[in-house]
Amino acid sequence: MRARAAAAAALASAGILAAGWQAGNQVIEASSTTGVAKTGTGATGNAGAGDSTGPASGGAGSSTGTGGTGSSGGTGSSGGTAGSSGSQGSSSSASLKNGTFNGPSEDTRFGTVQVAIVVAGGKITDVKSLHLTDAERRSQMISAYAAPILRSEVLKAQSVNVDTVSGATITSDAYLTSLQGAVDAAHA
């Protein structure tokens, strides 16, 4: 029993650590997402962007098709400013070593994302998506965002046509105000 308690305590603290670690990750994710937006736009606005920006954001930059497409699209305005900063920063490129470099594995709202960059001749020549799955099987296809709709837009059914009734749990005597009761009675 004592050993169990100790194990439970260890588990709990591991959980707390994990939560803290995740919180940290959120910050990292936020910053790297911004990096994507910047260089992504920089590349279109500025032909020299490929060899201009620093290694980290450059790697994310050409990954427009990979990791954070959805989010980078959303921040159009910050991309605009980044375009100019990209053109100013074109001096820092010489330090890239040749080879393939894996980026960190990031938990994003779309799942876990990891990319690798391929550097040749001091330039990023390719970006590969290494990992975009999701341990908890939350799908790669995220749900649609919940948007306001009119009552007339909801998928409708007459109560005579439904097989069952979903509603907030109430006491048994109300029995979903007998809608479910009526359905059951019809199938008794």
Partner: protein, 334 residues
């Protein structure tokens, strides 16, 4: 068995003749559990045979025992339950049963994943796992039904729904899911179970409906949405890992802030933004927990849920407005 309410009392109550299209008769049994009513509806190809009746009665008894077993352990309304012993401080969690500790760990994990919107601790500090236990009980009952060889059923526990198969199984009795699509074109085509959703402003009427089934009948909408992500999935992403493929919707849970006001506590300030939240998901525990969490956590939790989980959500605001993901909308023109 409960006395059935008089169908005439409910607006638009179905009559026997108003049964949905499809020729497999649905048979239902009800029992009381966890302070509410559980309905088991089974679609038999030969619905009115004695064998079908026997199997329905047997299945109903089995799942009633499933519910009772969990209620006996977790109910805070029973003085002799393990949960009550914990609440009184007679028993400490470290010495509780593996099942109790397992559920507690799961509740803690849900709390973390919902950023605190779902919690198993009441404001008075008492551990209350009821938000998890009902979903768990429904899932257990579903496993029992599968073990009993039943493939086409709908289980409704106080408004939370789990389904398997279709209400219109092939009369040939083939229990396997045929690979074809599941378009409800009437006739003998297998259609999804159709769940109505109560209007919280007038609980005798339906706000809308949602199709539930093995085939991702709503997956078309889910698949259509994030084109960018389909692009993103490029190299590494496997699709459809695990038993539930994306877009599968077997479960629908609805939580409200009006009923059982002691059940859900708004996070932070004030009254809940939503009077009712319905969540459709691949499994009933996820649907149930997220519905509860969104009622408690409001818009922020709604956005978190739709971003982090493969679910559809219909939320009713206090002024009667609706927020919905695509799966709850009427079919597109396409």
């Amino acid at each position: 068995m409960l006395p059935m309410p008089d169908p005439q009392r409910a607006h638009g109550a179905p009559s026997a003749s108003g049964a949905p299209a499809g020729d497999a008769p649905l048979r239902a049994r009800t029992f009381l559990a966890m302070g509410t009513v559980v309905s088991l509806t089974v679609a038999f190809p030969d619905g009115h045979s004695d064998e079908a009746t026997d199997r329905l009665d047997a299945a109903s008894r089995v799942i009633e025992a499933d519910f009772e077993a969990l209620e006996a352990r977790f109910s805070l309304f029973r003085n002799d339950s393990e949960a009550s012993a914990l609440a009184r401080g007679v028993l400490r969690l470290a010495h509780a049963s593996p099942l109790m500790r397992g559920y507690y760990a799961e509740a803690v994990d849900w709390r973390r994943r919902t950023h605190g919107a779902f919690t198993a601790e009441r404001p008075d500090g008492v551990l209350d796992l009821s938000g998890l236990v009902k979903g768990r009980a429904i899932a257990e009952a579903g496993r029992s039904l599968a073990a009993l060889g039943l493939h086409h059923w709908c289980l409704n526990a106080g408004g939370d729904v789990l389904v398997s198969g279709t209400p219109t199984p092939d009369p040939a009795g083939a229990s396997s899911t045929d690979g074809g699509g599941q378009r409800a074109t009437g006739g003998r085509a297998a259609r999804p179970w159709l769940a109505g959703i109560v209007d919280p402003a007038d609980r005798r009427t339906l706000l809308g409906a949602y199709p539930l089934g093995d085939e991702p009948s709503t997956a078309a909408s889910a698949a259509a949405s994030p084109a960018a992500l389909a692009d993103a999935s490029g190299a590494g992403a496997g699709t459809g890992e695990g038993p539930a493929t994306a877009g599968t919707r077997l479960a629908l849970a609805t939580s409200g802030s009006a009923e059982r006001g002691d059940h859900i506590w708004a996070v932070g300030r004030g009254r809940p933004e939503f009077v009712q939240v319905s969540v459709a998901a691949a499994d009933i525990v996820t649907a149930d927990v997220l519905a509860t969490a969104i009622v408690a956590g409001g818009r922020d939790m709604l956005d978190l849920a739709t971003a982090q989980w493969d679910v559809d959500v219909l939320a009713v605001t206090r002024d009667g407005g609706l927020l919905a993901t695509r799966g709850f909308r009427a079919p597109r023109a396409a």
